[in-house]
Amino acid sequence: MSQSNLPNWAEVQPAGGERHLPVYLLIDTSDSMKGAPIEAVRQGLEQFQTETAGDEYARSIVHVGVITFGSEAKLVTEGLVPITSFQPPILEAAGATRLDLAFQELQASMDAHVVKPIKGAQKGDWKPCVFIFTDGLPTDSNGTLTNELWKPARDGVLNRVKGETKPSEVIAFGCGPNVVNENLKDISTGVAFRMGSSVASFVAVLRYVSMSLAASVASGANPDNTLLSNLDKVSLPPDLIRIP
């Protein structure tokens, strides 16, 4: 420390530490997503990476986790990956629509990978943002439609005890003819959307997501409560419809 008799503010440097915004993308890879839809998702993920990593503020803090769900669910990124080094995974579509398993993977990852603040040790991450992309209704392992599995799993993610990590928002995007508005709204914590199934639709939607994230980071650098309010500040792609 300077021993002169003049103030020296330049030498006062907080130790700081990094804080990240975890973003989870839960992607339906059930049988009905085979072909063009799953390819559209992959291209959309590329766009998401490009757009988010291109924002000077978002790229500093966004870490991505991708969970696919068909007959099984898997955290294909094997953790939360900095957006600057995120590479869209190879996606394969098959099987049922086990949204419940996706929520369980999400809960496990939040406990394992989202950093909690410790005074004198480390800064904690912001609450995770969760985006779910699905083209159908949740099922059991036999492909039978049911709400008996995914609803308690979702509740387990949202209704956690004090001190446990939970998401700031869960936002569902439904594509194709088999989605039901009420189901999408039930999955979400707030808003839900219907979208097209084309490459252009997925690209546009994931671009919208990345812009909303950047806007939420911009609003006072505390995305915990800002993502929802900033979804309204970003223009909706033409075939993305907000479900009232």
Partner: protein, 388 residues
């Protein structure tokens, strides 16, 4: 005799418009304490052309000092209306038990020498924090938001869409109070106020702080109604400190994030009020269950070398480092720089520029800090207990 009082910092906002500045500083020398406050807009707000959501206010009444810091939540465009109200109310309510609104009797007026009006305004220097706000040809942002009200219609209160300026200019009001050599004025009439003389019964300070928070909560709800808003739109944290500058006693209360720290004469720093253990909590003083999150604690030792009251834009950068001694190092440096400054005004501008300018990756929020400190030696010599 009425106690001399001071008030400095951010003022409340209402239908008269969003006058909340991007940067604010305040400074005073009270008894032998240096009191400095500064609040700097975050880099993200500057980029987006939105306003500062932090606020602070400092009030003094005789030997009593009240400090409040508040941080409006980012998702609410009008939260600074809540933060500015909160600091006004909290500091006022903290001092209320010590106030008597009685005019000076003629016999106690100072007759000679009659002080002269100040001859010159101390220049605080041109080194205002550099702004990287968007440049826009329109200057109507703030004015247009309230043009409906100006025309007589009770327009809905809406946030100005952008700072919409081509630069930032200083808008200031500065006051002068009795010089330290006139400190006898502070002593006169002590026996008219509780806590003024040794042996006087002091109000239960814990109850004083609790009541101040409760009344601020109620007042914030009323303020929202007056603005035709929901109280959630004014969501903000609340940090309050009540100090007796003569005894060094200090008690603090807090709802929400941020930090209130005390530094001993030996340079040790600790939180006076323990922060929330659940980092996922975002309690605000407007919520109906705010009392569940209100923590009130007296300082563990008195007097302290320094007291720091800060919003989470700064506490987040100070409290979570794994580098041993990092917090003490920064705290000591801040106090040293303040005390080495040529004048309290220079101390304040130095603090403000530091808050506005230091770089930490991902740290883009508003930063607010109020520091009360004394020259080294006083904290060592005094041995009063921790209550006022």
């Amino acid at each position: 005799m009425m106690k001399p009082a001071i008030a400095m910092g951010d003022r409340g906002l209402g239908w008269a418009g969003d006058s909340h500045p991007a940067w604010m500083l305040a400074h005073a020398k009270l008894l032998d304490h240096l009191v400095v406050g500064a609040s700097a807009i975050g880099q993200m707000h500057l980029r987006e052309g939105t306003g500062r959501d932090d606020a602070f206010l400092i009030r003094g009444l005789g030997p009593w000092l009240a400090i409040a810091v508040s941080d409006g939540i980012g998702s609410r465009p009008l939260s600074r209306f809540g933060a500015s109200y909160t600091v006004e109310s909290l500091t006022s309510q903290l001092l209320r038990p010590f106030s008597r609104l009685t005019p000076d009797p003629p016999a106690h007026r100072v007759t000679s020498p009659v002080p002269e009006a100040p001859g010159a305004l101390e220049e605080l220097g041109p080194s205002w924090p550099k702004a990287r706000s968007k440049v826009s040809p329109s200057s109507a942002g703030i004015v247009s938001a309230f043009s409906g009200a100006a025309k007589g219609a009770r327009a809905k209160l809406t946030p100005s869409s952008s700072m919409a300026d081509v630069g930032h200019e200083q808008v200031a009001s500065v006051g002068w109070r009795a010089a330290p050599s006139d400190s006898k004025r502070l002593e006169l009439g002590d026996d008219s106020l509780p806590g003024g003389n040794a042996g006087d019964p002091t109000p239960d300070l814990h109850a004083v702080v609790r009541a101040a928070f409760e009344k601020t909560h109620l007042g914030l709800n009323e303020h929202a109604r007056g603005l035709s808003l929901k109280v959630a739109e004014l969501g903000c944290t609340a940090l309050g400190v009540l100090m007796n500058l003569r005894t060094g006693g200090c008690i603090a209360g807090q709802v929400g994030d941020g930090a209130i720290l005390g530094m001993t004469a030996q340079g040790q720093i600790q939180e006076i009020v323990p922060g929330s253990e659940d980092p996922q909590d975002t309690p605000t003083i407007g919520k109906s269950n705010f009392a569940d999150f209100l923590a009130i604690q007296p300082a563990p030792v008195a007097p302290l070398q320094a007291v720091f009251v800060m919003s989470d834009g700064l506490s987040g950068d100070l409290l979570y480092s794994d580098k041993e001694g990092a917090l003490e190092k920064v705290g000591t440096q801040i106090v040293r720089n303040l005390l080495l400054s040529a004048t309290p005004g220079q101390a304040a501008i130095g603090l403000l520029n530091w808050l506005a300018g230091y770089k930490v990756k991902g740290s883009w929020d508003d930063r607010t800090l109020v520091v009360v400190t004394t020259p080294p030696g006083r904290a060592d010599n005094d041995s009063d207990d921790s209550t006022g």
